[in-house]
């Protein structure tokens, strides 16, 4: 098998696909929260790679990515067949800090966030909780997989088509109301607005949490400054732009600068 060779590429649910690449070196090094930067062969007219969270790795050297088709790149990726090969850079970025035995890991996820946090759950010594939010039921992915890891799974949908009707931060508030769970450790990945809301809630309750923030990327290694988000800083503005590819994508909730201006 060649490096980067596609072994499996199948629809998971609706617009979500799962692809397995043969990538043994990457698998050996990968940690939860890191990403792979993929040159998708056969996208016409495109110069940039596409970043994807490392969803799972296997001892046989299979790298799993779960992706949603949203544009030309993911469309082209979804049409690739086993045997096709992509050039993959990675693992890149800073991982989540692993949860320890005394933690109850609480994962807050939206969109592909469930994929980006799956390795947290898989590697967690104690089972925890997944709060998964989506606009509508068909965007809820990997719930069975998290359950199989012993995680309690609560879902929210904005259109109330499944689970709690509303945003995932609603589920978070319910959970935080339960004062007995002081040893909760939060991990969040999802749309920017959701992460900002979750980050603020975590801080309000004086808890520990990490957010996986991302932004459109070019280089993926910290060289181009395309992918920045605001983090707190010791300067007159109180913030600076940090590169999500290199200094992130995972940031402590307490590091993030919660801007008044919406993104």
């Amino acid at each position: 098998m060649k490096n980067g060779e596609i072994i499996r590429n199948k629809r998971l649910k609706d617009n979500y696909f799962r692809v397995d690449f043969y990538s043994p070196e990457l698998c050996k090094q990968a940690k939860a929260g890191q990403f792979a930067h993929v040159k998708i062969c056969g996208i016409p007219n495109k110069v940039l790679r596409r970043p994807f969270s490392i969803s799972d790795v296997s001892s046989e050297g299979l790298l799993t990515i779960i992706y949603k088709v949203v544009g030309a790149g993911t469309e082209a990726l979804s049409s690739l067949k086993p045997g096709d090969t992509c050039d993959i850079m990675g693992p890149l970025g800073n991982p989540f800090s692993p949860s320890v035995k005394s933690d109850i890991p609480v994962i807050i996820a939206g969109g592909y966030g469930a994929a980006a946090t799956y390795l947290i759950a898989k590697n967690s010594p104690s089972p925890g909780i997944l709060l998964l939010g989506a606009r509508t039921a068909k965007d809820l992915i990997l719930t069975d997989e998290f359950k199989r890891l012993g995680f309690e799974v609560k879902v929210s949908t904005e259109d109330a088509s499944e689970g709690y009707g509303g945003r995932v931060t609603g589920l978070m508030e319910e959970l935080l109301a339960d004062k007995n769970r002081r040893n909760m450790k939060f991990y969040a990945c999802g749309p920017h607005g959701m992460l900002m809301a979750a980050g603020k809630l975590i801080l309000q309750h004086g808890l520990d949490g990490e957010l996986s923030l991302d932004h459109l990327m070019c280089c993926g290694v910290g060289a181009c400054f395309a992918c920045v988000v605001k983090v707190k800083a010791d300067n007159s503005d109180g913030w600076r732009y940090a590169r999500t590819c290199k200094e992130g994508p995972v940031f402590k909730a307490s590091e993030v600068y919660y801007d008044l201006e919406p993104e």
Binding site: K39, N45, K46, V47, L48, R49, D87, M89, H215, L216, C218, C219, V221, G222, A223, C224, F225, A226, V228, V229, N235, D237, R240, Y241, K246, E263
Partner: protein, 312 residues
């Protein structure tokens, strides 16, 4: 046959003609894990000013057909951190690479100041590249690159404060690149590099908003190659100082076009985002081309474009 890839840029000698384009290779540090930096003709670092700067709001990049628009806005650590921060010059000095520092400012004094500081601590620095062509900052930048008098002034003032070889990086957003090439030659620039990005724009038809927070950004990548090549050719006809060509170079064939057009060296930019080792592949590709053409040195192709004007 031993292929000679050395390039003589007057005051600057390079072991091969392939450099990295400023802003696409960070400060070298980020790519050092992909290959030894000393393999490159030169590492050109991202623009350095006297002051640290945030750069522009996000989104800062958007992909377009055969290229991308960027409006990074020169985020950077400022010259002091560059001189002393571990990931910057101190690291580069240890790398054995040929280092070129790209500089910018909002005022002429800014340019003078940053050049003076670098001159003062120039160990390991092989040349300065004066960026008078960044289209993504409100003050300075491209204003200097689209006004002949200002361009002359910046270069001649910087010239006074440093003995380092000076490269001036020209903007393509002008009517006559020849005039700018001649002006900066006249002002004392030892070399010219071109092109910087061409100002462009993209609009989201769902939200009716520009795709870049900065509204406009600089176009780079294969889309601009024909324009870059033409400007390199025109500039090479106008001046005697060596030219460093860039704009959409994705592979060795592209690089060879620039050399034939009149560039003595070339830089790889956006292609690094597609493939971090693109610059090495370009070096290798040029070497293979010379072998195939039974030539022994890269200087044998510089400016060798054959023009045979036919009558219509």
């Amino acid at each position: 046959m031993k292929i000679d890839l050395n390039v003589d840029l007057g005051k600057l000698k390079l072991k091969n003609p392939v450099m990295t384009a400023s802003g696409t290779f960070g400060y070298g540090f980020e790519y050092a894990k992909f290959f030894p930096l000393e393999k490159l003709g030169a590492v050109v670092v991202k623009g350095i000013a006297t002051f640290p700067s945030h750069g522009n709001p996000t989104p800062r990049v958007v992909e377009v057909e055969s290229g991308m628009l960027n409006a990074i806005g020169l985020q950077g650590p400022g010259v002091e951190k560059f001189l002393h921060g571990e990931e910057y010059l101190p690291f580069l000095r240890k790398s054995n690479a040929t280092i070129i520092v790209n500089i910018w400012g909002k005022t002429i004094d800014d340019y003078i100041e940053v050049a003076s500081r670098l001159e003062a601590e120039k160990k390991g620095i092989h040349a300065l590249e004066i960026n008078i062509s960044c289209p993504n900052i409100k003050e300075g930048g491209v204003a200097f690159g689209t006004d002949l008098k200002l361009a002359h002034k910046v270069v001649s003032e910087v010239r006074k404060v440093t003995k380092l070889p000076l490269i001036t990086k020209l903007s393509p957003n002008v009517s006559s690149i020849k005039d700018f090439a001649r002006t900066v030659e006249d002002a004392g620039s030892d070399m010219i590099s071109l092109i910087n990005t061409i100002t462009g724009m993209a609009i989201d038809i769902e939200t009716w908003k520009p795709k870049l927070a900065n509204v406009t950004g600089g176009l780079s990548g294969p889309a601009i190659k024909p324009v870059a090549l033409r400007m390199v050719y025109e500039a090479s006809q106008a001046v005697k100082i060596p030219i460093i060509g860039m704009g959409g170079i994705m592979n060795a064939d592209d690089a060879i076009e620039f050399l034939l057009a009149g560039a003595s060296a070339i830089a790889v930019g956006t292609a690094i985002f597609t493939d971090p080792i693109a610059p090495l592949k370009v070096i290798e590709g040029i070497e293979n081309y010379l072998i195939r053409k039974k030539l022994s040195s890269v200087s044998e192709i510089t400016g060798k474009l054959i023009i045979n004007r036919k009558k219509g």
